[in-house]
Structure formats: structure tokens, C-alpha cells
Symmetry: C2
Subunit: 151 residues, 2 copies
DNA sequence: TTGACAAATAAGAGTTACTCCTAAATAGTA
DNA sequence: TACTATTTAGGAGTAACTCTTATTTGTCAA
């Protein structure tokens, strides 16, 4: 087992999968093997994969899956709150399965996205009037600047 | 004068321009009329224009400016901290001249970006260890969810 | 001032990352 | 097991950059 890829154990992965299939049914979405495969690959990694990267992974299981399906599915995951698009994504969108609360720092020069976790940022309070008007699916603190390697 | 466009008065606009030319020189960038025109158009509006939208505006002054120049310039502004790309930008990047501190809420369904200002979010503290490793150019709180019109 | 030169621009071709379309397949339901 | 609305695969199409090249222009030094 590759340490970089296996940041989630198979028990937790199965739990996530059960939760995900439940969420799909709740939202009236069909539980297709492709959808599950894409979700599982996304949740397995913490390297903010692009649709292209995920497509390659999933093709090891579903050789005939199309990039369009991966793209469509990832947007769907974003809409139902099962994943999200990393803030400030530039050229190719980067996706995140949201394993645990964390924030992102993006280098404006090398475009690297660096995860970090800062407890106070995990607990920011959404203003009352926002909660009343909107359904807030996610909140995050996003930093940008120049990273240690670039400066 | 159109109220929608003139959210900044000409004195403040000139102040911003002086600051901007200074920043360019400091960063070793040439102060070209195109660069200034693009910056001024961006700062004049609060509607998160795309490169395309800004290009049209600037063409009223520089009929021959190319879209490529506008794109390149906007990315440069982002790198030196004179402007930024709105988080979660989808298809076409949206830019913000950062007139005053504010946050963004994005609807995952209609893709609308809604500005809001919440005082505690303007004053979040960047962790010490981040400040030491990186140059933090900007920090923001970003919310996503479903807006009042879509839910 | 005036050259010299590195940086910036315009124009257009090229590329990337989606996004749409259609026919075929399939999950959910009766 | 049959039906129907979703979903998928494959391929064509499109939008938004991004690169290349020739030309122009700030900036700096003499």
C-alpha cells in the first residue's frame, strides 16, 4: 500500500461510501458504479486532483469511462455537498473530497495549493442573516501569496 | 456620471493610480498606459468583471488593445497584489480591484457571486507560522451554498 | 537628450479544459 | 420482468485563455 495514496483506511472509506450512497438517494440521484468509483478515488487522496487526474485513476477500474462523465460527476458532487472545488482554481479545476476541516493557501506564482489547518478558522461563525437567506454548504478561509519556495 | 460605474470618485481613483504606479516600479514592472488603463477600469467597478468585459471598457480609450494584454495584465496585477481573482471563479475568471474589505458567497447552482461584508471576517488573524513561511498577499472568507433565488 | 535594450504589446494561431449532443445502457420502481 | 427517467460513452464543438513572433516602448545610462 502506498502511503501517499492511502490516507484513509478501507473501513473509513466504506463508511464514506455508505454515507455517499445515502446522500445520492436523498437527492434523487441514481447510484451508479461510475459515480461511486469517482467519489472513492476523490476521497482517497489529499492532493486536490483535477478531473483529468481522477479520470486516469478511475480508468484502472472502468477502462471505458469518459472524461465528460468524470467532469459531470464532480460538478454534481459539488452541488450536493459531497465534495468541493478548491477556491481560486485556475486553469484546471481542482477537487477536494473534504476529508477533514482544513484551509488552503495558494501561491500566486507557482500555483501550488498548500493545505493547512488552523483551529480558529474551522470554527468561524456565519452571520445570522446569511444563514437565514441562504443554505450555506461550506465555509472556508482562503489565503493567497508567495510560498516559501518562490520567494 | 453613471451611479453604477462611479463607485469611486476621481480623487480616490487618482490616489489609487499613484499607489499603483509606485507598486509597479517597486516590482520592476514598466508603467505602460495600457496597464494603467486596465487597472483604473478594474478599480472603478464593483461588479467583478471578466477579462472580456474589461477589454471592452478599455477599448473605449485604447481601441487597439488586445485581449491577451488584458489577460496578461490582470494576472500580473494578481501576482503583485494590486487585484485578485475572485475565489471559485468558474468558466471565465472574475477579477476584483479590492475597493474595500468584503467577502464572497457563491451559489453552487446559479453560480452567482454575492458580496457581503462581515466585520469579524475582515479581521481574521493569519497564524504566526504561516506569516513566517509565506508572504501572505490576501486573506478571505469564502462561503458557498444555495442562494435565496435557487432554493 | 539620446541611444540601447529589456520588457511589453498586438495580432493571430494554437491549446486546454471543459461542454454539448445523440444514441445506447441502466438504476430505480411497479 | 418491464418501463421510464437518468446516466453514460464517444465524439464534435466551444470558450477562455496562452503562446509565438514581429514591433513598439518605457527605462536607464551616457
Amino acid at each position: 500500500m502506498n502511503a501517499q495514496e492511502s490516507i484513509i483506511n478501507s473501513v473509513d472509506l466504506d463508511k464514506k461510501t455508505v454515507w455517499f450512497t445515502g446522500l445520492c438517494r436523498e437527492k434523487g440521484l441514481k447510484v451508479t458504479p461510475q459515480r461511486i468509483a469517482i467519489y472513492r478515488e476523490l476521497v482517497k487522496t489529499n492532493e486536490h486532483p483535477s478531473a483529468e487526474m481522477l479520470c486516469e485513476k478511475v480508468r484502472q477500474v472502468f477502462p471505458s469511462i469518459s472524461l465528460d462523465t468524470v467532469n459531470r460527476t464532480l460538478l454534481t458532487l459539488n452541488e450536493i455537498g459531497a465534495a468541493f472545488i478548491v477556491e481560486g482554481s485556475g486553469d484546471a479545476k481542482r477537487f477536494d473530497g473534504g476529508l477533514d476541516e482544513h484551509q488552503h493557501f495558494k501561491c500566486v506564482e507557482c500555483k501550488r495549493v498548500i493545505d493547512f489547518s488552523h483551529e480558529p478558522f474551522n470554527n468561524i461563525e456565519v452571520p445570522q442573516e446569511m444563514e437565514e437567506m441562504f443554505v450555506v454548504l461550506r465555509k472556508s478561509v482562503y489565503l493567497e501569496g508567495i510560498c516559501d519556495l518562490c520567494r
